[in-house]
């Protein structure tokens, strides 16, 4: 599999196409902002969105788990779009999740959409997790302890790239000295431009944005 290695707080981090991260030292796979159940979340208001987003996201996760064989899968929060999303999972979706759970332990970090653990979903729930020098949380923190680095989601970073007049807008990884923000992995997730103050203020000392193409992960900003 193509990947691009970056080093934060002395830890090897591999950026993967599709927006996930693999930590070779601990055999950990990380994804952010799955927003499972988003498609069916507005049905009560009469909004009947196509419900395929959840299954599509779960299929993508399972494929990644199968190709990386991680010991642990960390979902960086907002894994479920609302507290009722777990109940709305269809049989097919539950089966996909169970298959994934048989292949890797799952650690659900709580997010703002899923602040409390979702009932009847396998795996462990934590507000925050630490492994080696890496801290895993949903919302990026203002200050990171010296010598540590943080992996977070929440902001759904996107980047506008203009090359010889051709403009592209893509989901991206954004990283600085001591943090990495992952793009949203869910199928119905939009994005925030990396120039937005909410993102820019987190990277006073400069940042690098990475975008995946068919063959490789590229630094584009």
């Amino acid at each position: 599999m193509n990947f691009r290695e970056i080093i934060l707080a002395g830890e090897q981090i591999w950026l993967l196409p599709g927006g996930a991260v693999f930590l070779p030292a601990t055999q950990t796979l990380v994804v952010a902002d799955l927003h499972l159940g988003k498609g069916t979340s507005a049905r009560s208001r009469g909004l009947l969105l196509p419900p395929g987003d959840t299954i599509s996201t779960l299929e993508k996760v399972l494929r990644l788990v199968e190709s990386c064989s991680p010991r642990l899968l960390v979902a960086l929060g907002d894994s479920f779009h609302d507290p009722g999303a777990g109940e709305r999972l269809l049989d097919e979706e539950k089966a996909l999740l169970d298959t994934t759970l048989r292949k890797a332990a799952i650690l659900w970090i709580t997010g703002n959409h899923d602040a409390a653990p979702i009932a009847n979903i396998g795996g462990e729930w934590l507000n925050e997790y630490q492994s080696g020098n890496l801290i895993f949380r949903h919302i990026p923190s203002a200050r990171i302890p010296a010598g540590k680095a943080e992996l977070a989601g929440h902001l759904h970073p996107k980047v506008r790239i203009r090359i010889r007049g051709h403009v592209m807008r893509r989901a991206c990884f954004i990283t600085g000295n001591d943090r990495l923000i992952l793009p949203a992995f869910g199928s119905y997730t939009g994005g925030l431009d990396i120039s937005d103050p909410a993102l820019a203020t987190l990277f006073h000392q400069g940042s690098a944005a990475y975008v995946w193409g068919a063959d490789q992960i590229n630094r584009v900003a």
Partner: protein
């Protein structure tokens, strides 16, 4: 005088110094017989009066109570204007008739009053009518209705607004079975198809076709720019003609200067004022201006306070602006019928010729102006007959119907088949649309709770909750604009709107033109652009998405004939003749016997420009096919652009053999998949999703971030394609997109014809004839292909280099 016209009306006509025209009497005759009618008349033919006369006569006795006549037009402003015009005969003859307007701007109190105590004549738009029909008391309200007048039929038939109106008319017929429909239309190429469109049965046979006499032949000239007719190589703004236009404005009392885009209106308005030494009062009118400012301009025009107005299609329709002496069309005329209608704006008297000037903005446009002038004088008309009704509009109508009360699908199916647009719809399609409205209609096993409609034991469908009804009412309508952002000063003064995409390219300090003012971009706050009066020279020109009109294939053919007949060039200005001569020296001229293809490097890309002259639709399809094959053969195409004459595409790698590229197997492979990926289909899906009610325009308490909506329609599209490729909305999307494309059969014939006649010219730089297409807007980008991968890798290499330095 006529036996159909009662005495008070005859007297009124005489007092005006008029005598009733034969088409006005024919409309009265139709009304007496109780049949629907379509009146086709040029502007200024007393069309509106002809439409209303039967109603005024019926109402004159004063015994009628309740709503008698409903008038629907595409423009709110038109309703207001008609209300004023009707007030004159009503006042003069002291008729017991109450006329009122209802639109999105009508106050809540007034709406309530209209509901309780209906006027005799109500003037409204298709959207407001659909909204009225969504209320449970619609049946009672419209039960007294005798006449439905549809104005500007030519502008509605064949559009989604027209589909909606046709469906609403079929509802009205249910509430009032003897309803008569009076359609009013400008001259069109397919009168009987238009007659079917206004028909209560969907068939032309049930409608009286009334044609007014043609007006006097118009007086049409080509107006060349200043500097002794020098025409720019490209550009479509026509700013070089400002002095010439001013001279013409000074000669007439009132001129409408028609342009093709809002950006052009802004720029030309500026250019005219820069030169306007005599301070002639010149106004500006386009759809992005604040409604209040537009109303002021309209008023000033009506009062004769202006000498000229620079306008887009916002003034195309039949507002009665009084005494317009001439129109000046700046830039390509595009369509013969539209030009004829614009010219019609300048005939307030039918017995005098309308005066029109065509001011080409570039060299290609001179050819087009000459061709269009000839075509208008020959009374040629273009435009296709109205297409079949759109399925997304039907979905909206199903919900409109359900909001008013429960319905039986069988009954509704028979009802809608009485309209021309939906007369051929299959029961399967109809049922799928109803199922979509009911529960989404997804193939994927869906979460069962929360359907939108439910069925009772009789098989009637009901809306599940009041909340759904309230939310839906805010999404009624079929106009989906390019997302626009409001522009306001820090104090909240409204300047107008700009395209969201354009706003996203601005950085603080940038200046741009809006409403004739130079504004400085301060920042983006939620969905509002903050701006202040700006200083400085080079403002950026707002780019408005909007719909790009393409010229009719007929006009494109005329242009081609001029192009390869050097003896026909004598009517052209010298600079244009020189341009064509230069093209024949540097490259070749496209001729009747050869198919010219040019390749050249330009701005770092490898360009292919082909000159089929088959019209924009065929070129769009060709562009899709070319980029597909270029992607398959690893050339990394990044985009293509098509106009009516030419298609151009560009790649990151050299483009290879043209004979191989333009071979018959261009049509092989799976075009459907490639088409589905295209930006064109994604845009179409977004519109379909909004109209069908898959996503909302807005909902209470929160104006949805429009950017998010755009993104999510794209994501929805991808998910739907993956899990539900035959979903009714995807089919609706494909059907709609295919209308804008030429079928492969025709394209295959074209390729057969071209094969063996390909004349490939490889150049070191841009050719003279290709310049216009390279500046064309509406480029289609190829997303996520090998070309973009290459660009991303290129960006990465730059960072790697920077890292080493």
């Amino acid at each position: 005088m006529s036996k159909h016209l009662p005495e008070p009306f005859q007297d009124w006509f005489s007092r005006q110094g008029w005598s009733p025209r034969s088409h006005q009497l024919a409309m009265l005759q139709a009304a007496e017989e109780g049949v629907s009618a379509l009146l086709i008349a040029p502007t200024g033919g007393g069309k509106t009066l002809a439409g209303f006369l039967p109603s005024l006569i019926e109402l004159a006795e004063g015994s009628y109570s309740g709503l008698h006549t409903l008038y629907v037009s595409p423009l709110k402003a038109l309703s207001t204007n008609i209300a004023e015009n009707l007030s004159r005969p009503i006042r003069d003859m002291d008729l017991p008739v109450r006329v009122e307007v209802r639109s999105g701007d009508t106050s809540g109190a007034r709406r309530k009053r209209q509901q309780k105590n209906p006027p005799n004549i109500l003037l409204t738009t298709p959207e407001s009518l659909a909204l009225l029909l969504s209320y449970p008391d619609a049946g009672a309200y419209f039960s007294t209705l005798r006449v439905l007048i549809i104005d500007e039929v030519h502008a509605l038939a064949g559009t989604k607004r027209g589909d909606q109106l046709a469906l609403c008319a079929s509802r009205l017929r249910v509430f009032s079975p003897s309803l008569r429909i009076n359609g009013l239309s400008a001259t069109v190429a397919h009168p009987s198809a238009m007659a079917a469109w206004v028909s209560p049965t969907g068939k032309a046979a049930g409608v009286r076709l009334v044609k007014a006499e043609d007006g006097v032949r118009p007086d049409v000239h080509v107006l060349l720019p200043d500097k002794r007719g020098y025409l720019p190589w490209a550009g479509r703004m026509g700013l070089g003609s400002a002095t010439a236009i001013l001279t013409e404005i000074a000669r007439a009392r009132l001129t409408i200067v028609f342009v093709n885009s809002r950006a052009q209106a802004e720029l030309l308005f500026q250019a005219l004022w820069k030169d306007n030494a005599d301070n002639l009062p010149i106004g500006l009118h386009h759809g992005s201006l604040d409604a209040v400012r537009r109303a002021k301009v309209e008023e000033a025009m009506a009062q004769g306070a202006l000498r000229a107005v620079v306008a887009t299609s916002s003034l195309d329709l039949g507002l009665d602006w009084g005494a317009v002496d001439q129109i000046i069309q700046v830039g390509a005329p595009k369509q013969i019928s539209r030009l004829t209608q614009r010219i019609g704006r300048a005939n307030h008297r039918m017995d005098e010729p309308s005066r029109a000037l065509l001011a080409p903005a570039n060299r290609f446009e001179v050819l087009e102006c000459e061709a269009a002038r000839e075509a208008v004088l020959q009374h040629e008309l273009d435009g296709d007959p109205p297409r079949a009704g759109a399925l997304d509009v039907l979905a909206q109508h199903v919900l409109v119907t359900a909001c008013a009360g429960p319905f039986f699908p069988d009954v509704l199916y028979e009802e809608i088949r009485q309209t021309a647009p939906y007369s051929q719809i299959s029961r399967t399609d109809f049922d799928e649309v109803v199922r979509f409205v009911e529960d989404g209609g997804y193939a994927l096993q869906a979460y069962e709770r929360h359907q939108r409609l439910f069925r009772d034991s009789l098989g009637q469908l009901w809306v599940r909750s009041e909340q759904i009804i309230r939310q839906f009412r805010m999404n009624i309508g079929t106009i989906v604009d390019t997302p626009m952002l409001r522009v306001k000063s820090r104090r909240g003064k409204a300047y107008g709107e700009i395209d969201e995409y354009f706003a996203s390219t601005l950085v603080p300090g940038d200046t741009f033109l809006l409403g004739g003012e130079l504004l400085e971009f301060l920042g983006l706050h939620d969905t509002t652009v903050q701006a202040a009066r700006g200083r400085g020279k080079d403002p950026r020109v707002p780019v408005y998405g909007g719909n790009q009109l393409s010229i009719s294939p007929g006009l494109a053919r005329h242009v081609r004939e001029i192009l390869h007949t050097p003896t026909a060039w004598t009517v052209l200005p010298k600079s244009v003749q020189d341009w064509l001569t230069l093209q024949s020296k540097r490259s070749h001229l496209p001729g009747p016997e050869n198919f010219l293809i040019e390749t050249f490097p330009h701005r770092g890309w490898h360009y292919i420009v082909a000159y089929p002259f088959e019209g924009r639709n065929a070129h769009q399809t060709l562009g899709l096919l070319l980029t597909k094959k270029l992607e398959e053969t690893g050339k990394g195409p990044l985009g293509f652009v098509a106009n009516d004459y030419v298609v151009a595409c560009w790649c990151v790698h050299p483009t290879g053999s043209m004979t191989d590229l333009f071979s018959r197997d261009l049509l092989g492979g799976n075009l459907t998949d490639w088409l589905s990926e295209s930006a064109m289909l994604r845009r179409t899906f977004r519109d379909v999703a909004i109209i069908a009610g898959l996503i909302e325009r807005n909902y209470p308490g929160r104006e949805k971030n429009r950017r998010q909506m755009t993104i999510s329609s794209d994501l929805l599209y991808d998910v739907l394609r993956k899990y539900d490729p035959d979903h009714i909305l995807l089919r609706a999307t494909r059907l709609q997109a295919e209308e804008g494309l030429t079928d492969l059969g025709r394209l295959s014939q074209m390729l057969d014809r071209l094969y063996g006649h390909i004349e490939h010219v490889s150049l070191s730089h841009v050719s003279p004839l290709s310049v216009p297409v390279l500046l064309e807007q509406g480029r289609e980008k190829i997303r996520g292909g090998e070309g973009e991968d290459y660009l991303l890798a290129e960006a990465d290499k730059l960072y790697a280099l920077a890292g080493k330095a």
